[in-house]
């Protein structure tokens, strides 16, 4: 089957190359049948890659260790869900997933636009096929998922235990969906530029939902990563401005700007150059994001040292950047604005400002991430920037962004009069300032930036709330519906608007959560003996006693955990009991490790003790001190090495089990000290709540309106009537 899988990919590559030629030929010569053939190439690739991916998945689910990928990333003891997801935990599997998603979305958009965009679609098809060919070529020539092992091992290496978390498994498909969906508007923008159709907004209309979907998926992927970091890793944070994180944030920032600025092009025919540049940048950044984490360019500060993919990736990025700039310059005449900005006090101006802030943020993140390379290129010495530098710039920019997201919904299009603006903003501004004063009285003024974010967040919630209130009021005045019904029909009839407002509220909640948990958290690293306690925030954490256990699965040992029971109290009253642990997985590499020692030399994972709440989170992780166990482990190694071969495997297994049991019990008997990190941090849960609200708002905005056609007809007649009346 591996041969078939490989062959399907080779076939996909061949079809992609054919399709590029066919599409371009059909476009240049105006031959529809060749364009259709090019379009069908995408469908064919989708089918081929689906087959290839299915073969890989089946191999994982059946634990077919003849596949090198399966052997190195899965094992018979891996739970089924993780077996399926392990397919994309490997380099080659994740590239295959990327190609598969690309082919699916591309098929969808080309099918949906098969009767339109005569001049643009063929070139867009060629671009999408180009991406497909690139990834297929990587899979065929450099990183094949279908490599076979000459000697089939009895057991695989297993999935890295750090990845055994549902959000870590859904995180890559979400991210890749985001990246691949962004290539759709990219491809159509390129097509529109080549075909001189950028003036018309056809290409935007056809791909608007794909851009929004991309934005949504990418955002979810980023947040899942943050959640995993917070709930699974032992450091208690959710964002570290790590190159890997930044790589995914960049296209999201420019994508957010794009979603807003296309509304202006739709309404006023303005910002054409800006929109086209934004979408080209977003697509390029999506490719950059895909490869940054696997190219070795940044993780290892040595360029291209650590991976075979570095060079092809850089070539692709260079091509994308050069082509984008070239295209925009070549077609700049088509990109002239139809209108101009009427007034700075208008929604258009706010959108523009929002775009500038987002692009500024993207530039800051880009600069900080690539600074090591830039510095090396310019000065010869490599230099690195830490989180504080990023925070210096992104925090003020984020505050301004949140503020703008509260102004936008309330201000009128084209030109708002000052008196009206005053009337509309009075209530939200007063509400926000009032809240700010209250918070300041409670001590929030000690962290002015956080206070500013709270005030702006409150402003957003108040102004959007006012919008909903007024909208429901208008609707009720027009139709007499009950409030809840009026709300539903209001949102249903204006999905983009109110969905968008909801997204703003979600983002405000998210940023408030970030501000509160960063500025007002209390974290301590301490070493405690049983019975000792430490104070963080208003809470007292007491290390009551040690815990230890052996986890087995299907008769085999899965991990050995050492943990603690931590009692948390506030003002003497019991709040919760946390059970943080550290789990030690046995090492697969048997060489050089003792028969007993190897159970402590594999991967280690933290199980975090977390009590989440609406007001604050209580978080703890621990590292056990197993130094006192080392002599016993070493003795065990000596005894079992000496007895090697003298016992039957079954007896040896049993004896080993008894020995490990003894060690685990010794840990408890020793009443050992342990190192704890305890954190109390306010409003963290609002980050996740805000994310869910953003997701809901995005879904509403994405959802197609049901009776749009009916409304169109009715509106047409109504307008004609009014127009006739106006003329008479």
């Amino acid at each position: 089957m591996a041969t078939v899988g490989r062959a399907l990919l080779i076939l996909a590559l061949a079809v992609a190359l054919y399709g590029i030629a066919a599409s371009i030929y059909g476009a240049v010569r105006g031959r529809d049948e060749w364009v259709a053939s090019g379009r069908r190439s995408i469908y064919a690739i989708a089918a081929l890659v689906t087959g290839s991916f299915a073969i890989l998945e089946v191999a994982f689910l059946r634990s077919d260790f003849q596949f090198a990928t399966v052997a190195s990333h899965s094992s018979t003891t891996t739970p089924t869900f993780y077996k399926a997801a392990a397919a994309w935990s490997s380099q080659e599997g994740s590239l295959l997933l990327w190609l598969w998603l690309l082919s699916l979305w591309a098929s969808l958009v080309l099918f949906a636009t098969r009767r339109q965009l005569r001049r643009v679609a063929p070139y867009a098809t060629a671009v999408l096929l180009g991406f497909a060919a690139f990834f297929a070529a990587l899979l065929v020539f450099l990183e094949t998922p279908f490599a076979l092992l000459a000697a089939v091992p009895a057991e695989g290496a297993g999935l890295n235990p750090l990845l055994r978390h549902p959000s870590m498994m859904i995180h890559p498909p979400m991210l890749y969906s985001g990246y691949t969906l962004f290539t759709i508007p990219f491809a159509f923008a390129v097509g529109a530029l080549i075909a001189r159709q950028v003036g018309a907004a056809d290409w935007i209309r056809a791909t608007r939902r794909f851009a929004l979907g991309a934005w949504l998926f990418l955002g979810i992927g980023i947040l899942l990563g943050a959640r995993w970091s917070y709930a699974e890793l032992g450091w208690g944070g959710y964002w570290a401005w790590d190159p890997v994180e930044n790589a995914s944030l960049l296209p999201w920032l420019t994508g957010t700007a794009f979603i807003h600025s296309i509304m202006i092009q739709e309404k006023r025919g303005m910002l054409k150059i800006w929109n086209v540049s934004l979408v080209l940048a977003t697509g390029t950044l999506a490719i950059l994001g895909t490869f940054l984490v696997r190219s070795g360019i940044l993780d290892s500060i040595h360029a291209f040292g650590a991976s075979t993919l570095g060079v092809p990736f850089v070539i692709l990025i260079a091509v994308l950047i050069a082509a984008s700039i070239g295209l925009v310059v070549w077609r700049r005449a088509e990109l002239r604005s139809e209108n101009r900005l009427d007034s700075l006090l208008s929604r258009e101006a706010i959108f523009l400002l929002n775009n500038l802030v987002l692009v500024a943020m993207a530039f800051v993140v880009f600069w900080g991430t690539f600074w090591p390379l830039i510095a090396e290129a310019l000065t010869g010495t490599r230099r690195a920037l830490g989180p504080p530098w990023f925070d210096t710039y992104t925090v003020p920019l984020a505050i301004v962004l949140v503020l703008l997201s509260g102004v936008g919904p309330v201000i009128a299009w084209r030109k708002a009069t000052v008196s009206n603006a005053r009337r509309n903003f009075m209530l939200p501004v007063l509400a926000a300032l009032a809240l700010g004063a209250v918070l300041a009285a409670f001590g929030a003024a000690s962290r002015p930036l956080a206070l500013a974010m709270f005030v702006c967040g409150a402003f957003v919630v108040a102004s959007v709330g006012q919008e909903f209130w007024r909208g429901v009021g208008v609707r009720r005045a027009m139709t007499g519906e009950k409030p809840l019904r009026a709300l539903r029909s209001l949102v249903a009839r204006n999905r983009r608007r109110y969905g968008g407002y909801l997204v703003h509220v979600g983002m405000a909640l998210l940023f408030v959560g970030v501000a509160a948990s960063t500025a007002f958290n209390d974290a301590r690293d301490v070493r405690l003996a049983p019975g000792q306690s430490v104070r963080a925030g208003d809470y007292e954490f007491t290390y009551e006693r040690a815990t230890s256990r052996i986890s087995t699965r299907d008769g085999g040992l899965q991990k050995i955990s050492f943990g603690a029971v931590v009692d948390v109290r506030r003002d003497g009253r019991h709040v919760t009991t946390l059970r943080p642990e550290r789990g030690y997985y046995p090492s697969r590499d048997l060489s050089g490790l003792g028969p007993v020692g190897r159970f402590f030399e594999g991967e280690a994972t933290s199980e975090v003790g977390l009590k989440a709440g609406l007001r604050r989170d209580i978080w703890t992780a621990m590292t056990p001190d197993i130094r006192r166990l080392l002599p016993t482990i070493e003795e065990g190694d000596r005894v079992f090495s000496a007895a090697a071969g003298k016992l039957s495997p079954q007896l040896e297994g049993q004896a080993l089990g008894v020995a490990l049991d003894g060690i685990v019990k010794k840990y408890l008997a020793d009443r050992p000290e342990a190192t704890f990190r305890v954190i109390t941090s306010p409003l963290v849960t609002w980050i996740w709540i805000g994310a869910i609200v953003v997701f809901l708002g995005g879904l509403i905005a994405l959802w197609p309106g049901p009776d749009a056609a009916r409304r169109r007809v009715a509106a047409r007649y109504a307008a004609r009537v009014a127009e006739d009346l106006g003329r008479a």
């Binding site: 935990s89 990183e143 750090l162 290892s300 690195a384 530098w389």
Partner: protein, 135 residues
């Protein structure tokens, strides 16, 4: 003021703001960044300055201490190594033989790691033996 002039002023203002931001960025990135080095390059380290050290954890060099861990870091393809004292939470993937990045400050004969700056590269995807997996 005629619209064209208004637009010109707006353009100048926004361009100036962009230039100011860019200059601030460049200036602070130069001053706030720490030099990225390998262990062999740390020989010329100045006491008190912070460096971002990248390298591999030397086998058998890891010692748990009361507050954290002490270990040695060597060049990826070399043997010269330096001692690092790190206090704080140890990242889960940290093990000997793994590649790490840690921000350190020279104190006497040893290098003290900054809290939460220890990053261990995830071994699954980004190893050099990618070539071994091809067939």
């Amino acid at each position: 003021m005629p619209p064209a002039r208004k637009r010109k002023i707006r353009l100048v203002v926004s361009l100036s703001a962009a230039v100011v931001l860019a200059c601030a960025l460049v200036f602070t990135s130069v001053s706030a960044s720490s030099e990225a080095v390998t262990p062999s390059e740390l020989a010329g380290a100045k006491a008190g300055a912070s460096y971002q050290l990248t390298g591999k954890v030397v086998d058998s060099s890891v010692r748990t201490t009361n507050g954290g861990v002490d270990f040695r870091v060597r060049d990826r393809n070399g043997t010269s190594s330096v001692p690092v004292e790190y206090k704080g939470a140890i990242p889960d993937p940290f093990k000997e033989g793994r590649e790490v990045i840690v921000t350190v400050r020279k104190e006497g004969a040893t290098y003290v790691g900054e809290r939460d700056s220890l990053v261990t590269k995830c071994p699954s995807k980004f190893t050099e033996d990618a070539t071994q997996r091809n067939s």
